[in-house]
Symmetry: C2
Subunit: 226 residues, 2 copies
């Protein structure tokens, strides 16, 4: 019980501080979901029933807050990758990976915004976690292709394409689960080997680093207006 709340609230803090930390994270998810990732910090503090100072003390930058608020979702993504790799049917693993990630984007509203914000430029920190994720994905893709289920010209960066575009869709149309599910269905169908008809244009040069599949939490702010 104590263990539980300390896991949520964070270790090494006084009881009240731990409690507040937990409240802030819950409030942050709610506020971000409702008003987007750019919602005022004060709104989060108010919702959590704490002062702004407490919020800033615990999370000095908005980025820290976003990262912490969606750490659980990031972890779920990372776990999905591991599970996908463990699945004896590589296509089913791949399919579930995509579906799990998209479901998260769909259900935890703010997560989508956090996802894109997180994406663009990744840093070197936690490089080993990223590389492992990248390697795992590569393995998964190759295995699914070898099984004849995933089309041969699928490129790992296409996963980023799929997730980012889905992200955009749920951002534009929150609450429209049908649209999201349709897109996922279309994309998964077009990734199947049988769907390969004409040649595809060359894949993007994007690296997979940046995808939150690594659960390491190296994020960057979305492009500033400066």
């Amino acid at each position: 019980m104590v263990e539980e709340s300390s896991r949520i609230g964070g270790p090494g803090l006084r009881a009240d501080a731990r409690r507040n930390r937990g409240r802030i994270l819950v409030a942050a998810r709610a506020v971000f979901a409702e008003h987007g990732i750019d919602a005022p910090m004060a709104a989060v503090a108010r919702r959590a029933g704490v002062g702004v100072a407490t919020l800033y003390r615990r999370f000095p930058t908005r980025d820290d807050l976003v990262r912490a608020a969606f750490a659980q979702q990031m972890e779920t993504c990372a776990r999905a990758l591991t599970e996908a790799l463990a699945d004896p049917d590589p296509w089913r693993g791949f399919q579930r990976l995509v579906e799990t990630a998209c479901e998260l984007q769909r259900e935890e509203q703010g997560f989508s915004a956090a996802f894109v914000a997180a994406f663009p430029d990744s840093t070197v920190e936690h490089a080993q976690a990223r590389e492992r994720a990248e390697r795992d994905l590569m393995t998964l893709v190759r295995r699914a292709q070898a099984a004849g289920a995933l089309r041969a010209d699928f490129h790992p960066s296409d996963l980023a394409v799929a997730l980012l575009s889905h992200c955009g869709l749920v951002t534009a149309l929150p609450r429209d689960g049908a649209a999201s599910r349709r897109l996922v269905a279309y994309l998964l169908q077009s990734f199947r080997a049988e769907a390969a008809h004409g040649a595809l244009p060359p894949p993007s040069a994007l690296s997979l680093r940046g995808l939150p599949l690594a659960a390491d939490g190296s994020r960057r702010q979305r492009p500033s207006k400066n």
Copy 2:
């Protein structure tokens, strides 16, 4: 020549006013492309080399500015729909419609943001233009399906799904044309009749009104933070 510049600048204005109006629109596209649709109005004015008052006099709300700045793109979309309908090969028409719209989103940076901002809740104004567009699209879809090229379970709202998700992608990754083209290729392939394998989840309930295909310019502000 005079005709030309009056078309750009707007009619019934003094020469200097017309000139400034044109400058503002050019500046707006540049600034929106660089800093997003939420860029400060003052930045647009500065870039155009005019005072803020001039900007506000010509475009009382940011929405008016956005609408005017991307009117040309909206028109191109509308024209693409007409041309698609005129194409003797309905699939080619459909394909070009999608490609044209996506190309615009890709190339004119700010347009994507304007597109999503424009989308969500449409109003009744210019209802006849919307309805015509909606009707045209329906015709195009049915014709392409009858020709056996477009899958039978394609729903007109899927076009919105495609365009909005593509929009999200180019917003997340501007300058990555490869990613955009990949997505478009995947989507178009999955819309082909041959690609239909399993059943799709039910289509979204979204109406097509709101899609900028009508070139009527009834827009709304993106969701406020309030």
